[in-house]
Amino acid sequence: MTALEHQALRQLALNALARRAGSAAGAADLAAAAQRAYDDLARASAPLIGQVGVDALTGRTLYLAQQKYPWLARTREPDQWKGAFAQIVFCLERQDPDVATEAAGAVFTTFTGLLVTFIGEPLTASLLRKAWPDAFSDASI
């Protein structure tokens, strides 16, 4: 297996999004695809790192993604806050499809990059294969 470098992770994320968004992808479709990709990833990761771990990494991902995409900044009122990823989806829905795709790819690249940092490449690769098996056909890893 080649290293899970930034480009490889990004390519995997884009593949996973494309598989879930289908061909006619508007921003809303893309945001829904991102939600499904996230759910798959969270489902695979939670047994290993705990739901608390998943939530913590998602929060960190949102914070880091906001550095590059300031429009991901919290816009909802506290009583409407449904979690970090719901915030991301909420913001993606309101963007141009191309921008939303790029940002969603960056969000997943950041999340999976954090996984690599904390639990290492082999375990992350194992989780990704479980969460997004369909994303690997075109990926270089």
């Binding site: 939670a46 290993l48 290492g120």
Partner: protein, 517 residues
């Protein structure tokens, strides 16, 4: 009916642990790995889990609220035993945090059983079980509910043919009250023993149903390879060590003697050192103890009797380069005829040292051992073991001589002309033979003398002989039979040895009090 149920014992993969458990881990046993925070419980449990799993046996590792799983995985995979390829294959982690926070013990039990029944693992670990107990504490009949939960868990996991480990933080005071300790088949207690600034890890097998663990506290170390236990050696009624150390079967021939490398000294000993004897070589600083002891090892190397040097004073490189006695240790080490052990100072246990020595003996098929010196050895031990030094040394000498090893231990003594002692540790009685070296003043010079004090069960010379240290090592000189009072430091020619001074009267001498310890 005489046929008894056969309990298969599983190898834990933790060096030394199978020995102290009494032969491995009983299959399908329900065990508790308990101890204070930082004692190494999770590491031990993970190491055992990876050792026990493979293509035919899988493991379920339930993580509860204790150490966050993301951190545990991050740190545990630093150990060499952590096989990443097996994660999510034969080793599966299941996080129960939400179940414990939101549910009852009954629901938790069902969740665990459901996971176990789904994958039929051979090994189940719940880490940390302390969290489960705390959850029980919230219930109205907390203790009763916990007891019920533990019993149910034990029955259902055992009947599902799983070997189980509950990992939890406990204080020694809880042992009597906590139902987990009652229900568990095995209890492995881990602790950090503090003495001044030193910390030593210790493990006790508090119980292991169906077999006899080695009692007492056993030291262990955690390295990159995980946990390694150094079983406490117990010497049996006939001086035979019990199974902690794999004692070699070689038995010395009754009259076999080993040369010291100094022919005159061999003669003084009655023909060399009887094989399998322990020899104490006592003398003041600089008297030549290390020189003689290394000569003993070197002589063995040349006679195809490999030797091990356990160094506590010099650095091993000094031995490897030391050529003052004409010995080429570097070459002998390279050829596998001599092994040099230099261990981490100041935090050793005797059992750890013994383990290293025995390993080196087996590796080299050694017959000789030199410990240089007892004082350095004592200093290298963690403070907590120094109090028991004499007892520990007794165990070590018994094990090594029981293996047929002939050992020479140096002991530095402050030169005193008022008493006669052979060991600062009161250990002289432990040894089979004693060679003493001293300084004396003779003819205006400071000279060295050597004597054989005892050789158990053997005749030996009682002479005091002068000696010197030359290029080739020890050079024995004349027997100083014409002098008396040598050990007072102020020898005099005895009257019969005087030729021209018959009228000279002996001067008053200081008394000598033999005080063997």
């Amino acid at each position: 009916m005489t046929d008894r149920v056969a309990i298969r014992r599983l190898p834990t993969g933790v060096p030394g642990l199978d020995q102290i458990l009494g032969g491995g881990l009983p299959e399908f046993s329900f065990n508790l790995v308990a101890g204070t925070p930082g004692a190494g419980k999770t590491t031990l449990a993970q190491q055992i889990m990876f050792a026990l799993t493979g293509p035919d046996r899988s493991a379920l590792y339930f993580t509860v609220v204790g150490e966050p799983p993301i951190k545990m995985l991050r740190y545990q995979q630093q150990f060499t035993f952590f096989d990443i390829a097996r994660v999510n294959e034969s080793v599966r982690y299941v996080n129960l945090s939400q179940d414990i926070v939101n549910g009852t013990l009954e629901r938790l039990l069902e969740r665990i059983v459901q996971e176990v029944e789904a994958t039929s693992p051979g090994v189940v670990i719940v880490d940390s079980f302390r969290t489960v107990a705390q959850a029980a504490g919230r219930a109205q009949n907390g203790d009763l509910e916990l007891q019920h939960f533990v019993q149910q868990l034990a029955v259902r996991l055992t009947s599902w043919e799983a070997t189980t480990f509950l990992v939890g933080e406990y204080q020694p005071s809880e042992v009597e009250q906590n139902p987990v300790f009652t229900v568990a088949d095995g209890v492995l207690w881990l602790l950090q023993s503090l003495d001044r600034n030193s910390m030593v890890r210790k493990m006790q097998i508090m119980k292991m149903r169906g077999q006899a663990p080695i009692p007492g506290l056993h030291t262990f170390r955690i390295t990159d390879d995980g946990v390694q236990v150094f079983p406490r050696v117990i010497v049996g009624p006939e001086g035979k060590s019990q199974p902690a150390v794999d004692v070699a079967t070689r038995t010395p021939q009754p009259r076999e003697r080993l040369s010291t490398g100094v022919k005159e000294l061999d003669d003084m000993l009655g023909g060399g050192i009887p094989a399998g004897y322990s020899v104490l070589l006592a003398g003041p600083s600089g008297s030549g103890k290390s020189v003689l002891a290394t000569q003993f090892i070197s002589e063995g190397a040349h006679r195809d009797e490999p030797g091990v040097i356990a160094v506590f004073e010099k650095r091993p490189t000094q031995y490897a380069q030391d050529d003052s006695s004409g010995l080429r240790y570097e070459r002998l080490v390279r050829e596998g005829k001599v092994g040099i052990i230099h261990t981490r100072p100041l935090d050793l246990s005797i059992d750890e040292m013994l383990h290293e020595i025995v390993n080196a003996i087996h590796r080299l098929k050694a017959r000789r051992l030199m410990i240089d010196s007892l004082s350095g050895f004592e200093l290298a031990l963690a403070p907590t073991f120094r109090e028991d030094f004499r007892e520990s040394l007794y165990r070590m000498v018994a094990v090594l001589t029981g293996m047929g090893i002939t050992m020479m231990m140096t002991a530095e003594l402050e030169d005193s002309y008022l008493d006669l002692r052979f060991s600062p540790h009161g250990t002289a009685f432990l040894t089979d033979a004693i060679i003493m070296q001293r300084y004396i003043e003779l003819k205006g010079q400071l000279q060295r003398v050597m004597a054989v004090v005892k050789v158990r069960g053997s005749a030996h010379s009682k002479d005091l002989r002068a000696f010197d240290i030359g290029e080739q090592g020890i050079v024995m000189g004349a027997t100083l039979g014409e002098y008396e009072g040598l050990l007072t430091g102020s020898p005099e020619l005895i009257p019969s040895a005087l030729s021209d001074t018959d009228d000279e009267r002996p001067r008053r001498r200081r008394g000598l009090r033999p005080t063997r310890r």
